[in-house]
Symmetry: none
Subunit: 214 residues, 4 copies
DNA sequence: TATGAATGAGGTTTCATTCAT
DNA sequence: CATGAATGAAACCTCATTCAT
């Protein structure tokens, strides 16, 4: 994970990505403010000075990182959410849930979102950017799924806002439990099983009921 | 919010709380590392030096703050969750949800949890502490609720892990949307309505169904 | 030694001396610059503020201390050195040596000279003062002793400078070994025996020799 | 003394020594606690930050300095003391005395021992280190000299402790007079003459006497 | 392109000194 | 007289950034 290959072996065009990768590691370990450019450089197998050949400043690295991550996540999410959504929104949700739980349990992948969360206070533009480029994409996709299901007669008529939170919330909560707040003796849950169990509850909650109260 | 009354007028025994309050503000605005003790002091209406009469270091303020908040939240949560849980778990969940959404929409209250989230990377002990003192209390309470409902015949037999995530997740997600990732043109949702809508979905998801599979 | 009696019990006129005594302790433990007025105050059984009722500043304490000590030592030395010097300079030297070795082995007494030594760099006036008020008194007394002995025919005709160094030097060296540079497993020497042994060498070195050169 | 040549012109590998040299100056002028790293840096022709590229802390400089000095002095002393000691201990003592008086009259050379003396209170390890690495070497050498002389029949049978103090003491005393406690109108003594005069007394004091009292 | 020495602003922490009570 | 809260000027140390090589 950590770059350790000799500089000479590597291609110069890879440098920026290597630096960003190292930066991601250090940022999520220490937080942005406490991260030292020197550490990023060392982890990328470069000298401190060299880093400044590729990025103007530490903030520039943060921004590049977030943009990169936002792009990736947004693409993945939008692709997935549309895939088969119209035919079978329930099946689509299950698939998305499984993918998301798997991905976000990987600290390497959850690192970027967590970083944004951490630094949102100091860089509100970052939070706004992430909201628009990642969160909104996800929410829109979920909204689409839900409306499709409703049209199909698979889902009841519930408030969009609430449905989206019910869809997304469990993933967010699980991401935090399994990364930031993980304890050493936490049991290792299978993302597939967990996804099924969550989907079972949430989808059931959206199903129309013949004779129901509430 | 910001103390501005002359020092002499105020009671010395209030100083620690005044400082913590100021520290909370500055920490959540800038993050712990970027927060300057000078700013905390000024916002508490004191000089930099005076702060050190009450706290040994900046880290000491962070710890005190987290402990304070943990105590408060844990108490509130455990009180609420037991209140009437045995008689009517559904009603209890609705009440908890409403309370949580209201509380966490208030940036003053959500500040501490968000701070922990931000600094967890640099202070893993803090994350552990919060997990044990706050999160586990909440999870335990939710688990209790769910098992009670199951015994009552109000809830289906579902995996505890998943049920807890379904219960808690939407609140976590909403907290983030309404604080960290808030956009200026976000509609102001009524916490009561939102709680009802979410409860409607989640509780319905747990209900036994006459003729039905997943 | 350290003041621990209740303030109420003590007489106000003793305050300055109690403070100086505490200051002496702290100064020799930490050095002047690193000594904290707070520590001095506590050790004198007072609050920090009260110390400033008796002394204008930390430097004022240092000066008072050195003057006090200089007065004491100079008096003792000059008294002793004149006592019986004319009748029997050898006996006088033995007596002085014994007294000096005894006194300077006591860390409480050697503290002041060592303090002057330590702070001489930063307070040259102190060094000058001590030189004139203490060292010169001692050197003069020793010079008197030597000249008397020479007139008596008990001592050879040697350079005054060298003789004084030979007289005083061993005491200075022993003081350092037994205070600053003491090791835990250093043997405890009897000042009387040591004084006799040193006097034996030094006085013998000054005696006229019948047929002999160096 | 003070480096003033532009940084770029100088060789980086000299930096540590240049810094130590500057530190020695500042420490002996102000004492360790009152010495400012900024002053050391400026005197070494560097910025504050650069100093920290070479030494971890101010204390690290002090330690390096003392070790450096200890090494030098111990080497010099042990070399000298063994040189010709067996053949003619009296001549050896005269040579050592002359060397020591010359060296220690030079403030640059006596600076380190005086520094140790000053800071011994605050850094007892330093005092211990110096005692073992410098003082003991000197005392051992002197002891060797004395025992050799005794075997040769050149010296009387006297207590080792006392003889060593008689040998070393005058040098210590003279060092202090000529550095710490120097007055502007002190006469400039020739170290060679002084050494001869002191040696004359001390060695005479150790010589066996045909008909003597005490 | 890459290095690593150097800078200097900025942050935390300490502490002599003051002053209202 | 005495207290202890408060101040504010340093001082140590860190690190983003620059630059000569």
């Amino acid at each position: 994970m950590t770059a350790s290959i000799r500089t000479a072996r590597r291609r110069p065009e890879d440098r920026p990505d290597e630096i960003l990768s190292a930066a991601m590691e250090v940022f999520s370990e220490k937080g942005f403010a406490a991260a030292r450019v020197e550490d990023i450089a060392r982890r990328a197998g470069l000298s401190k000075g060299a880093v400044y050949l590729y990025f103007d400043s530490k903030v520039a690295m943060l921004k590049a990182l977030v943009e990169q991550s936002a792009g990736r996540i947004a693409n993945a999410a939008s692709t997935l959410s549309l895939m088969g959504a119209d035919d079978d929104p329930e099946q689509a949700y299950r698939a998305i849930l499984k993918m998301a739980l798997t991905a976000l349990s990987d600290p390497e992948i959850s690192a970027a979102p967590r970083l944004v969360l951490s630094e949102a206070g100091r860089f509100p533009e970052l939070a706004q950017f992430y909201r628009k480029r990642v969160i909104e994409v996800g929410r829109t996709a979920m909204g689409h799924l839900i409306r499709t299901g409703r049209r199909n007669g698979r889902f009841r008529d519930v408030a969009d806002e609430a449905a989206v939170l019910a869809f997304i919330g469990p993933v967010v909560a699980q991401m935090m439990l399994s990364t930031v707040f993980r304890l050493d003796d936490d049991p290792e849950l299978d993302p597939g099983d967990l996804a099924d169990a969550i989907a079972d509850i949430v989808l059931n909650g959206l199903k129309p009921r013949s004779v129901n109260d509430a």
